[in-house]
Symmetry: D2
Subunit: 349 residues, 4 copies
């Protein structure tokens, strides 16, 4: 392939932090590489993969236009780097994160390995933790909730896509102690299943389908519960009813949240709660019509809508993101911006 | 167009009831006409429309292969008929239903005009009722729940698609008095918006979108509440939290129901409740994996899955139908089968 | 799974031919099984597969509602059968077809093994032929062109989907010796790639894509050339420019054919040629507006449109089918109808 | 709606040319506004529309994030501007283009009004021309072919999307006098039908469809013929067989071109022809595998593939673009870059 255009030189500021993406062949890693390649504040020095070694990333993902060759990750021979995005499956990620930390790199980890504060909860859902010693070094990377701690963290555990949408939608209510009970019904495009080739991703099976999965056992449930519990110390252990569905689109995610409040909540109070919570957030928009996921496609934005239902007394919160962007890779870049003292929106608008 | 094949003669038993479809140009009416045309137990004599008069229905809907010309409905000149399917918008339907009744026809009405038992509730949601005098003649047409009364009815009010999925999913719990609180999160394909040409149906807007709509104000809510209340006289007025979403497919609908039970419900009890409720139903299948809507596409089947969530104590019920088939037109035919003493599955398998 | 409804007994006439589907786990075999299960003129006795043995076919393909268990094919232990549909890949099919013939069954083979009259051409495109001895027993199964020979054949080589659309579209011109040169640009839905799980079928890769493939080397080219050559003995060896594309839908196929005619062809002559050719064909419709594939989705119909372009002098022919139905499995049933003396449309309208 | 984030100030260089978009409510105008809003080299001062006046553009197109209010275009009250993009239908465009020229603005016109060099051809296809006096002021805006003349033009007639893909694909052959005959089979996503709400764009009609349209009468035909004729003076009047199809995706377009060459063309010569033609083009990539449209989605790139078919002697050229980007709005920005002496890629990578 003769790709004149995409062989353009990367543009970045002198002295920009040097970053690698480990696991760049999957959807999440490839998008992270794309965002960092065009980011003026970082130098993307290496993309690695456990497959496709030797192939150029822009041949695998033409739209992302990153003309780097995919390498096998060899931390003993790698040039000094300042940061890494690790896009490995859970359990496979932690050892690599540890090795990167030992070489001084600060890491945004896209796996579940460092998301849960409780080791016991982790082991209940994922099995034995490969590097529990690193848990203290890790901060949960929901940028809007933890940016102060993210700024100084060695390891940032990038949130799951469902927790990102759900917790951003519910945080103002949780912080006000208003959640007595909550049902979260989440819908997501097929890219959420990743580069898996199976019945859930085949167009002739996933098309014309609405597919609920993992009833009463989705691993994002404890992650959401921990975050809401932290925001609402009066109800630290409230169980959350969470249900995920695949719908036939590529990128997009909506968390529809149904809250039974601890007391009557009026529309005006809701407006104030959400307005105050997100007035200064560059990437969270409080909207007054129900948000479609198309509105935030291929952006780092989250759109949140909240309404009090006078008939039932419940509060309905709708939170829309792009599962691959704010739900994964662009939030990783937002976290890198925070970690390295750049403007939080740099490279993301 | 020279369409040799589709000009084939209709096949039906001698003396079969004569039926018309009024409003055959919309998605629902056209499918009803298709199902009746190929049905061995009915003679489809006329398809009418308020637009497209003079055009052949199979030129408007080629796949449906009904080679009848669309006529303007003129009840004074129509040959005697036994039955009619009326596919008009609410308020427009009732006067025509009345006129058909006066000419002796039995009617399945696809609109909302006769679905609600309470006139007050109707007028609160839809405005003045054009023919309240006919309400006593009408039976709610959820076949599985009301088949005895449907058998003798003059007017069968075909249910809304959302109530069909939701009530079939929740009926076993309601009948057992087990629903203390329920959230229904429903998702539907774009055909649910009908032949409307606007921003909700344009492929470049509806594609790559998950769109919640009518928050806390969907007209199917009171219909669901009335039906569940009738099944569970101990909780006749429980409000239901109902939320609808459009997702980018053509035909398919899933109601995800989250029930807070009145007491602890075990998996075995659930299995028995649902097994008993639907053991002899030809069109309701109780399944033990979460049903995707593709499984029931273009069928009259409803697939129901129920699980107890040990973590939250809630019961999760997933109910999948094709919104145009069981949710609308094939249920209309199922009701006609019941009304005219045919096998309930005739023309539908 | 408790699937009461689908366990219904198969309905067929007493003494109906007994048929099996070998390779029922792929899209083509599964649809053939579905069509035969609901066909009043055949008894479907066995569905076999090389994977998924022991699983029920309706659990793998819920919509197809065939409640038979998938078996490993053991021809030594099988009860006597009259017919078989073989849905294996090329080269794998021929030995099984041979074994079935030796047991007296008449076979419709969905593979390419018996489609080409010339052994040399077969070996050039597919490699060594496993059973060249059977070639004389085989008839090319484009029903409309070869029904007399199909009626008596031992082996019917079901055509490829692209040749079905293209040859039905071009036959009237070929027969009249009017094709000096032809370009066939064909587009097909993702089901054409079968149950393959890879980059061509993943919704996040096949979606929002128009993908040309196999430039100047598609194996359907020689099949089209042989058929057109047979129809037009004056030009027996004309090369055909054929190009295939995948587009993001499930089922549907359009062959757009651009013919440079051997002499000027007027609109009236075209109308007469196509009208005469297909006037009595139950499944080919000559239409006077360009046909969309949706018009024939999930039917055995082919819609053909032909126009003379006064500007260029070329003839444009558009031919639309459902690639899985008329392009594969429903044409197989049409052929079985012919082979066993049933009405050609039985089970297909 | 409270959209904190999108109210951000536009960033542009001091003294940047001031530009308006007239007709920003359609797909093409809205995307042009989006690209100019984020472009560092232009100041977008006004977006106008003939509907939706007073509504903010980012409320109509949330993803495009242009927080300007849609105005009625009043050229007598507008502040001085340097340039305009006009996105009106043909015939409606020319008078506004004229008025803008009279006020000194340089115009990129997205309509067909100034694309054809021959007034007679225009009037044959579109009817009377509203401003034939302006034709001499206009240059055909296929950037790669006419950039020198575009640099000094008062009016740039932005090409149709089909001619963009087709002519970029065929130019190297035309320039070498190699085209004896050509068939162009083009496929496009639904956004190509624009913001029209009708049967061609409704997801339940356009989905699962491949729809050929305007057989032997598409208005892009004479545009392609003029451009190819200009490149190949030895064959200035060769008719082109052009056929368009709609396929169910949002943005993407593929022109599959089948060329009967004037003499035998070998693979090596093709490689050299295309390599030479596009070696220095920043937005045209000559690729050696058939390009899918997804590869160029939401980019200004065109990917071209050319192969000699040894079997037929024809040359197959496949040319992929995004119909809304390179096919329309991003090419308009590329032309503005050329007209105002900016780097041709500015704001487009």
């Amino acid at each position: 392939m003769s790709c004149v255009a995409s062989d353009a030189t990367q543009q970045f500021a002198p002295g920009a932090p040097r970053v690698i993406v480990a696991g760049a062949t999957g959807f999440a890693g490839a998008l992270a590489a794309h965002l960092l390649w065009r980011h003026p504040g970082f130098e993307l020095v290496t993309v690695s993969g456990r497959s496709e070694v030797g192939r150029r990333l822009d041949h695998l993902y033409p739209r992302y236009r990153v003309p780097l060759e995919i390498e096998e990750l060899d931390l003993d021979r790698i040039e000094p780097i300042d940061a890494a995005v690790v896009a490995y499956p859970h359990a496979a990620a932690a050892p690599t994160v540890g090795a990167l930390r030992e070489r001084g790199a600060r890491v945004v980890d896209l796996s579940a390995d460092f998301r849960l504060g409780s080791l016991a909860t982790y082991e209940q859902w994922y099995g034995e933790h490969p590097r529990p010693d690193l848990l203290d070094d890790a901060v949960y990377g929901l940028s809007e909730l933890h940016r102060e701690r993210i700024a100084g963290a060695g390891i940032v555990a990038n949130p799951g896509c469902y927790p990102t949408a759900a917790v951003l939608g519910l945080a103002p209510l949780a912080r006000a102690g208003l959640i007595a009970d909550v049902v979260i019904d989440a819908k997501q495009g097929i890219s959420g299943a990743g580069r898996a080739f199976d019945e859930t991703t085949h167009l002739s099976m996933a098309g014309e389908n609405i597919l609920p999965y993992k009833v009463a056992c989705h691993r994002h449930t404890p992650e959401i519960e921990e975050q809401l519990g932290e925001l609402d110390p009066a109800h630290p252990e409230s169980p959350v009813q969470f249900q995920a569905h695949l719908v036939p689109l590529d990128q997009g995610e909506l968390a529809s949240c149904y809250v039974t409040p601890t007391r009557v909540v009026a529309a005006a109070e809701l407006r104030e709660l959400y307005g105050d919570a997100y007035a200064n957030e560059p990437f969270v928009e409080v909207v007054d019509t129900p948000p479609g996921t198309r509105e935030v496609r291929e952006t780092n934005f989250c759109r949140v809508f909240a309404a009090a239902d006078g008939h039932t007394g419940k509060v309905v919160v709708l939170s829309a993101i792009d599962n691959l962007w704010k739900g994964t890779s662009s939030q990783a870049v937002q976290n890198l911006n925070i970690m390295f003292g750049l403007s939080e929106t740099e490279g993301l608008l």
